[in-house]
Each structure stands twice: as structure tokens, then as C-alpha cells.
């Protein structure tokens, strides 16, 4: 998949990295302002924005990247890490497969016996270059847009996932990590034309 990623990266149109970084930074600041400085609300907003982006991005991704269908959720993770990240962000992530989460889900719903999951780990993040989080929003999930993008994109291809920014270099961690957990495979409903 590394090779597919490089090929896709070379084919796709590029924009200035700095323009991208500064633009995203400006968006985050504006969302933060609109939310009156509420970091959590901002994080949620960013995720929603990402969701809308992701559901549109998936078509471009599938069209330009030449990936074939994934056999399992593990492969989905690899494809996102090696091809999608490379194609759209210019960086390659690593995909780590973890054991299913043990802690009960926050919303009280019955836990699936084994949630398929993977973690996307990356060090370089073009969204947050030059950024330093100030004290009053040190818990802001600055790159939450990415979580939304992944969630939106996967939903369009039949997977309902929950996506969370687990670690962030902006929080002092040694790398940035997004956890993606498969909640449900959406069954296709075919309308019966006859009735």
C-alpha cells in the first residue's frame, strides 16, 4: 500500500503546504471564537466539519487511488494510513491493530463482543505545524477534523465507526494517534421496485 500511496500522492494536484496549515489554523480559531472559547464544543464542531468533508472525499479517494475493496477492517486501516493519508496530507501514518477495548462504552449501549479497531499513528501533521495550544484550551482536539473525515468517509462505504483523537503532539505526546473503532457494518437496503 505504500507504493499505491506514493503513486496517488504524485498524481494528485498539490497546494501550498503553508497555505493549508495557515488556513486550517484560521478555521480553528474562528470556530473557537464562535464557541466562546469552549474547547470541547470546538472539538465537536471540527469533527462535524470533518464528517461533511469525509463523505465527499471518499469518492475522490476511490476514484484516484486505485484501491480495491478491503477484505477486513484491518485492511481498511492500512489503506487509510498508507494511501489516504499520503494522498491528502502528504504524510504516511502507521496502522496499529489493538486488542478490543475493555472499558464499557460511555453511552451505556451494550458492548459488542469484539470491536474491530485500529489506531492511526503519525508524527508529522500538516494541520498543526507551527501550532502551540495556549493554556486556556490545552485540551482542544486541534486535529479533530481528521476524525470526522474518517468517520464520514467510512460511513459512505458501509461502516459506522467511532473515531477519537487519543494522543496529540500538541498535548505533549510523542506522536499523534487516532483510534478508529468499528461499531456497525451498515446493511445495504435494497428498495424493491416491484411493490
Amino acid at each position: 500500500y505504500q507504493r499505491l500511496g506514493d503513486v496517488a500522492f504524485n498524481k494528485i494536484e498539490k497546494v501550498s503546504g503553508e497555505l493549508f496549515t495557515l488556513m486550517y489554523g484560521a478555521i480553528v480559531i474562528q470556530v473557537l471564537k464562535d464557541a466562546d472559547g469552549d474547547a470541547e464544543q470546538t472539538s465537536t464542531q471540527l469533527e462535524k466539519m470533518g464528517y461533511n468533508i469525509g463523505m465527499r472525499m471518499i469518492d475522490e479517494f476511490l476514484a484516484k487511488s486505485n484501491v480495491t475493496s478491503c477484505r477486513d477492517f484491518k485492511e481498511t486501516g492500512e489503506v487509510i494510513a498508507k494511501v489516504a493519508f499520503r494522498m491528502f496530507l502528504g504524510v504516511t501514518a502507521e496502522c496499529h491493530h489493538s486488542a478490543p477495548t475493555v472499558s464499557p462504552p460511555a453511552d451505556g449501549s451494550p458492548q459488542a463482543s469484539s470491536d474491530a479497531a485500529f489506531r492511526l499513528v503519525f508524527v508529522e501533521n500538516p494541520l498543526s505545524e507551527f501550532v502551540e495550544l495556549p493554556e486556556h484550551c490545552s485540551n482542544l482536539a486541534f486535529s479533530n477534523l481528521l476524525c470526522g473525515v474518517i468517520r464520514g468517509a467510512l460511513e459512505m462505504v458501509g461502516m459506522r465507526v467511532s473515531c477519537r483523537l487519543v494522543k496529540d503532539t500538541l498535548w505533549g505526546d510523542e506522536h499523534t494517534e487516532i483510534s478508529v473503532v468499528l461499531k456497525e457494518v451498515i446493511a445495504e437496503h435494497y428498495q424493491d421496485d416491484e411493490d
Partner: protein
């Protein structure tokens, strides 16, 4: 006596890196963005006076074009005070960078390099979307970077 001193510095083996006593970044509206003193045992206020006093000289230099016009905004020695030499650097966006240096034999090239790197660090710090332009820089990365810049010269 002045000539003697000049000759002596010319004959000296390459002087060591300049000892920076103070670095300052002033906005186009003359508000301080950053000011750090690295000379031990000297009252910081003194450097504030030196730096602000030097600000007027920026305008003077701008009004009297030197020939040839500098290609990178380095204005050179602004004013020698009793113990220090004050160098200036102006950016395209009219931010003023000031370096107050201790050594008399400091090479202009070295000072120029220090100010160019300070400019670069400042640009990175200002690219932080949380940094309000015109307000003081509070970035720890910036502090560390400048500390290294000075440290390499002390």
C-alpha cells in the same frame, strides 16, 4: 587611538562569536513583541531604554537611503553606547529586530546571521494561529529557539 583599536581588531585572529546581551522584537506599531536580556547582573530596564532609544534610529536609516540599499533588511550598527553596540534589522512588514551586543570586535556578518535567524524564528512563532499579532510572543518553542541562538554565541 581609534585607529589603533581598529587596526588591532583587524589583526586579531577570527573573533569568537559575538556575546549577545539582549535581543528584542518590536512590532510596526512600536509595541514590544519580545525582549530578553542575557547579560547577567545587569538591570533589564537599562536594555529597555537602549532598545527604545534605538527605535528612532530605524526611522532615520529608512529615511536616508544608504548606497547600495541593503538586500535583506540588516541595518548594521545603529549606535554605539558606552558598553554595548546596538544593531538593527527591519523586516518587510516593518517589524524591528534589535540586537545589543557586548563585544567590540564582533563581526557584522555574525550579527547579521543572528538577526536573520531571529527573524525566521519569529515568523514561525507568528504562524501559530493562537498568536495574536501585535501581542507578546509567549511560545515556549520560541523562547527555547532564541535561547539556543544566543547560547551558541555566548
Amino acid at each position: 587611538q581609534l585607529v589603533e583599536r581598529h587596526e588591532r581588531s583587524g589583526k586579531m585572529a577570527a573573533a569568537g562569536p559575538p556575546r549577545v546581551a539582549c535581543l528584542a522584537v518590536i512590532s510596526r506599531t512600536n509595541t514590544p513583541i519580545f525582549l530578553r536580556c542575557y547579560a547577567k547582573g545587569v538591570d533589564e530596564l537599562r536594555f529597555h531604554y537602549i532598545v527604545y532609544g534605538a527605535l528612532d534610529l530605524f526611522d532615520e536609516k529608512a529615511r536616508a537611503p544608504t548606497s547600495p540599499p541593503p538586500s535583506d533588511g540588516f541595518l548594521g550598527l545603529l549606535t554605539p553606547t558606552i558598553d554595548y553596540r546596538v544593531y538593527g534589522y527591519v523586516t518587510n512588514s516593518h517589524m524591528k529586530l534589535v540586537a545589543v551586543v557586548v563585544d567590540e570586535e564582533a563581526r557584522e556578518q555574525d550579527i547579521r546571521q543572528i538577526l536573520i535567524q531571529l527573524h525566521s524564528l519569529t515568523v514561525d512563532a507568528l504562524s501559530n494561529p493562537f498568536q495574536v499579532h501585535g501581542e507578546a510572543i509567549t511560545s515556549r518553542k520560541y523562547e527555547k529557539g532564541v535561547q539556543q541562538l544566543v547560547g551558541s554565541s555566548t
